[in-house]
Symmetry: C2
Subunit: 191 residues, 2 copies
Amino acid sequence: MLFDSLLEALKKLVRVDIQDFEIFSKDLQHVQLKKNEIWEQEDKISHFMGFVKSGLLRQYSNKDGVEFTTNFFMENDFAGNYVSYETQTPSTTITAALEPSELFVIPFSVLQAYHRSIPSTKEAADLIGKTKLLQVHERNSSLLMNTPEERYYQLVKEKPALLNRVPQYLIAQYLGIRPETLSRIRKRHKN
Amino acid sequence: MLFDSLLEALKKLVRVDIQDFEIFSKDLQHVQLKKNEIWEQEDKISHFMGFVKSGLLRQYSNKDGVEFTTNFFMENDFAGNYVSYETQTPSTTITAALEPSELFVIPFSVLQAYHRSIPSTKEAADLIGKTKLLQVHERNSSLLMNTPEERYYQLVKEKPALLNRVPQYLIAQYLGIRPETLSRIRKRHKN
DNA sequence: TGTATTCATTGACTTTGGTCAATAAAAACG
DNA sequence: CGTTTTTATTGACCAAAGTCAATGAATACA
């Protein structure tokens, strides 16, 4: 019941043995975040892999007092700064809740121990990593090759649900433009 | 002799057993590219990991007839579209030689076979993957958070050697700006 | 080495997005 | 429910980058 959504998400990646999953799930920590509460701070190496049971999170950086949103994590997304963990470099981003959120969280070190005893955990982790890798590449291409307007409509197409839940100025941050500009882009395509 | 530069590059990543390396190096293919010759085409899944012995390559995409340079590979760089291979999705980029170049190349499948017999090959491959991952993240941040001018001077700082070898209009492509704009950025900081 | 080609620079102008400020709309909350 | 706070929109203006075209410099190569 509690872990149903995680189980479903994993089933989409690998064949899951229920016994294994029950053992595994005992090591999951349950994190509850209030709105605006920070899950992971910057400047330290990330130690956790998370799964969003409910809610919505935002990953962002600060540059000279200006915030840039680098990612959103919604329910059923795998969240976490795996770049920081994988490369053992301090995170340059903050991850905080935009809505009250519930996460299941596992220390990377514990997860890696499971990689030996339950190989499908490694398979799944690798697949998640590959998906993230593909995403970050696509974001690169998009930032390099597309106009802000194109990026916006790509987002509308790919994550329509986000737009109703995230303030526009954060969408603008994610797209790399000012809120006023996003407002005008939207206006152009009304009527 | 022939593989010296590769051996050195690997030694920076892992402890290399010379016997192992000699066996391994027998499986390397030697690729010679003339200027402007294409190494890897787009629209197919990439099968090779490469090491640049000498020369300079450029990875780029085409969008509506406009080219965007996504990466440069110079001597002692590991090259190849590992995203395409890892995710088994067709490459969206072309990799071609900017200068006459020599590569050592190994099929990913052969490399993976070595991962069993010579564990350090896997260690090295993983480290290379992590480095690339970090690079692509840094590029994301840079495209999102920095101005074209900042990106240019960051490049000047990080890869000064590139600037003398790559036509400016390709640097501009890489930065996501027009050649005229790059020319003007450079002009601002003269005198 | 001379000619052709490619590349870089510059100017004039346009377009796009940023800035600032005012106002309106929406959301949060006691 | 009404008040405060946050968010979105709009206008006027500015700055940065793009476009187009001309010229000059560098490079390739026959």
